[in-house]
């Protein structure tokens, strides 16, 4: 079974989770042998942009050891063979089209989306 994970809610609880939980889930499933690819859209499209840095959070005296690295997580998936798709329109609307980004990210136009969805047995939109 081939699954396309569409991730749209970027930076959702990523500070306290120390991960994007859907990118994390994709990583776990891939490691377990799943055939799974990712489309990053909406605010999550920004995950492909380089140069992101999170200062670990301190609340009161509770100091966080590891901040999240959503770009690194995404790069990690790409290095494991997961296809990472991003909509051109999402990067352009956010002014990020010309920003340095993950080399393996495949840009798609909106017209190409139905064809992409048809390549998968199931499409999970998060």
């Amino acid at each position: 079974m081939k699954v396309l994970n569409i991730v749209s809610a970027g930076y959702r609880a990523t500070l306290e989770e120390q991960d994007d939980t859907v990118i994390w889930l994709t990583h776990v499933l891939k490691k377990a042998g799943a055939e799974i690819d990712v489309l990053l859209r909406g605010s999550a499209s920004n995950y492909v942009i380089e140069g992101q840095a999170v200062t670990p959070l301190t609340v009161g005296e509770r100091v966080q050891l590891h901040g999240p690295d959503v770009h690194g997580q995404t790069r990690g998936l790409a290095e494991e063979g997961v296809k990472i798709y991003v909509l051109e329109a999402d990067l352009k609307s956010r002014g990020a089209y010309n920003s340095p980004r993950l080399q393996q990210a495949q840009l798609l136009s909106s017209d190409e989306l139905p064809g992409l969805l048809s390549q998968y047995d199931q499409v999970w939109h998060w």
Partner: protein, 137 residues
């Protein structure tokens, strides 16, 4: 009565936070009523849906005590779906994602719900006719 197909639903919302919870319960209810087998993978806040310590409360604004208020609790909905599946003779498997349970302290779930992992999600979805993810905001 069963028509043999299985659907998997993935839920994410904690109880009492979003109208998606009630809609999701309606969908699962419909699917069971049709004789479909149903899996539910509860991810993140949704692991609190079958949380056993949920308690109904009175409503002073309405002048109703707890019994009169009859406040539905998501754990009652889940229990009721489990019963419905049994009556319909179909399979109903509710799995709470274990790490989500741990970080939220949601370990006390009602009977009939089990703890699992992303491997269960993959197993459920792979053996299902289709999967619907109902995401949170």
């Amino acid at each position: 009565m069963t028509n043999q197909k299985t659907l998997t639903f993935v839920l994410m919302d904690a109880p009492f936070e979003s109208s998606r919870t009630a809609t999701a319960m309606r969908l699962v209810d419909i699917a069971l009523g049709r004789g479909l087998n149903v899996n539910v993978f509860a991810y993140e806040g949704a692991v609190f849906l079958p949380f056993a310590p949920q308690k109904a409360h009175p409503n002073a604004v309405h002048g109703r005590d707890a019994e009169e208020e009859d406040h539905p609790l998501p754990r009652e909905w889940v229990a009721s779906l489990i019963s419905k599946a049994a009556r319909m003779g179909v399979a109903f498997d509710w799995v709470n994602c274990g790490l989500c349970v741990d970080e939220r302290g949601a370990g006390e779930a009602i009977e009939g719900v089990r703890r699992g992992s992303p491997a269960d999600l993959w197993a459920m979805a792979s053996s299902s006719h289709n999967t619907l993810v109902i995401p949170t905001d």
